[in-house]
């Protein structure tokens, strides 16, 4: 009884926290704060996984999502200098569109969730030793196994890694002639301040 009371309290705390933080992710104008809020949402999701007896998944969630993806996002934010300035407010049209679509989706999904369906009579025991079970399933090539998707995912990750490197690689600048800091006559035009340049052209 105490255990289920604890579960209840934790679930509702996590639920409220997750909703608030998810709203922070999409509404804050400081992108880095959004990233921190996203990290907190993912952390709370890991907590939910533990409530759902999926400890291994919780570990993977923290390892990959927080240790990898959020750090990558923070890197992206810093490299694109998005953190230095406030993001512009979305236009009213976008705001309206976003909230209408979001609310409509919520309404539709809730309709589906609360629609009458066959009652779940069987009481399922959580899987013991999920690490072992997941490992066996992932490498099982029988009809119940997931070995093909597993291999495909590894291919996808490899392709993504190579693609990321190729896209983000610094393209070497075309070989430039030796510059002398603006002393040569041809370069004066580019090194002087703009106002002065305009005067000269007049």
């Amino acid at each position: 009884m105490i255990a289920s009371a604890l579960t209840t309290v934790m679930f509702y705390t996590i639920a409220v926290g997750m909703t608030v933080l998810a709203l922070t992710v999409i509404f804050t104008r400081k992108l880095l704060r959004a990233a921190v809020a996203l990290m907190a949402v993912l952390m709370l999701t890991a907590g939910l996984y533990i409530l759902l007896n999926a400890e291994f998944l919780a570990g993977v969630q923290v390892l990959v999502y927080i240790g990898g993806i959020v750090v990558l996002i923070v890197f992206a934010i810093m490299l694109t200098r998005s953190a230095d300035l406030l993001e512009d407010h979305p236009t009213t049209k976008r705001m309206l569109l976003g909230s209408v679509v979001g609310l409509a989706m919520l309404f539709a999904s809730c309709c589906a969730i609360f629609s009458p369906r066959p009652a779940n009579t069987q009481v399922l025991e959580p899987v013991k030793d999920d690490v072992h079970a997941i490992g066996m399933k992932l490498l099982d090539y029988g009809p119940e196994g997931f070995v093909l998707p597993f291999e495909l995912i590894s291919l996808l990750l490899l392709a993504a890694a190579i693609g990321g490197i190729v896209i983000a690689r610094k393209i070497p600048a075309p070989e430039q002639p030796f510059t002398s800091g603006g002393d040569l006559p041809g370069e004066v035009h580019f090194t002087q301040p703009r106002l002065q340049r305009e005067e000269e052209t007049k």
Binding site: L32, R33, V36, F56, G59, G67, G68, V74, V131
Partner: protein
């Protein structure tokens, strides 16, 4: 109160159980006792943390002094024993400065993230058969995940300081930690493969016949070395202290921190060293298992004279000394050398090692294979 203390003492005599297990057992019948256990564990870990910080900082200063032909702190207390305490008091009394135009909230949050990640790892380390706060069936994964989580503290701290050096240090640190995490995890996976479990207690118990470092014909040694190098890089210690290299970046990501918050970063750094040492000794050196050789019963009985906690302490001190020895011997690497070491050397070695390890496991090709 007396009753609770008595029960804790009595419980120590039971077959080994973690504190979390005892609390879970007691929860339906005796919630107060469970709460007392959990609270006691929390207070205990925090006290341990503080003491550990003090001891490690003192040890680092003394040992570094000896390596450099100096004496180290000698004035406060006999042989400078109270120097760290005095420094802590000084840090606590200092003004807590947040730079203007820094992101206040992030600046305040970052040290807690950094220290929190470290403290959370301390909870799952098996110190001795009787002293173990919590055991998880995903122990190794948990440890890796949480230590990857600490990088966020460094990144946020560096960015929110609104200082170029701090930002550079944070970015370097992020790149370094993410890269070296791969090698460290690959090295840990070898032991997981051997032990067949990710629970730290299970891994310790699987080494009853011999420690993993030498039971697997060299595979263990290679992964031990790879893990040691990679985790030294992960905790930003010299020779991998590029993120804070004081001769290049003043102090890197914590350049703008002062007072209590600086001491949080500082403490996290030193506790991280303990965490690495504790994990290395748990995974490769048998944790609290005494040094046993196969079936030489007489020899093993002599080794059993020292209790488990003592063995753990000895191993951890040895690794910590090794880390300090590294620090005061080697010069700092350059950024490109750092990346080369990881991606071109450690990572291929790690992959090949994992492959060889899987063959060792497949054909049960251990020294002293009897007990597994």
């Amino acid at each position: 109160m007396h009753e609770i203390a008595l029960r804790i003492l009595l419980a120590a005599g039971d077959p080994p159980k973690t504190i979390a297990e005892r609390a879970t057992e007691a929860l339906p019948t005796d919630p107060l006792f469970a709460i007392a256990l959990i609270g006691g564990a929390m207070v205990g870990v925090l006290t341990f943390l503080t003491l550990l910080g003090l001891v490690l900082i003192y040890a680092e200063r003394k040992i570094s002094a000896r390596f450099q032909c100096r004496l180290g702190p000698m004035r406060v207390g006999p042989h400078g024993l109270l120097q760290t305490v005095a420094d802590t008091l000084k840090l606590l009394c200092k003004e807590d400065i947040v730079p203007t135009r820094a992101d206040q909230a992030m600046h305040l949050l970052a040290p807690f993230l950094s220290l929190g990640a470290t403290v959370l790892v301390l909870l799952v380390v098996p110190y001795s058969p009787l002293l173990h706060v919590a055991d998880m069936n995903i122990g190794v994964l948990y440890v890796t995940a949480i230590s990857g989580f600490g990088v966020m503290g460094i990144l946020l701290g560096g960015w929110s300081s609104n200082n170029k050096w701090a930002l550079l240090g944070a970015m370097r640190s992020g790149a370094q930690i993410i890269s070296y995490e791969i090698s460290a995890t690959l090295a840990l996976l070898v032991v997981v493969l051997f032990a067949g479990t990710m629970s730290l207690r299970g891994i310790v118990e699987s080494q009853e016949a011999g420690w993993w470092i030498w039971r697997a014909h060299g595979v263990g040694i290679v992964s031990f070395i790879v893990y040691l190098i990679a985790s030294t890089a992960e905790i930003n210690r010299t020779p991998f202290d590029i993120p804070e290299g004081e001769s290049e970046l003043t102090a890197g990501f914590h350049a703008e921190y002062s007072g209590l918050r600086f001491s949080f970063f500082f403490l996290a750094e030193f506790i991280n060293m303990f965490v690495v040492a504790a994990l290395t000794s748990t995974l490769f050196l048998g944790g609290w298992m005494p040094f046993h050789v196969g079936n030489f019963t007489a020899f093993n009985q002599v080794m059993d004279l020292l209790p488990g906690g003592g063995w753990f302490f000895l191993k951890v001190s040895g690794i910590i000394f090794l880390l300090m020895w590294f620090r005061w011997t080697f010069p700092r690497l350059r950024v490109d050398q750092l990346m080369r070491l990881e991606w071109k050397i450690l990572l291929p070695i790690g992959f090949v090692n994992l492959l060889v390890a899987s063959f060792v496991v497949l054909y049960n090709f251990y020294l002293f294979p009897g007990n597994n």
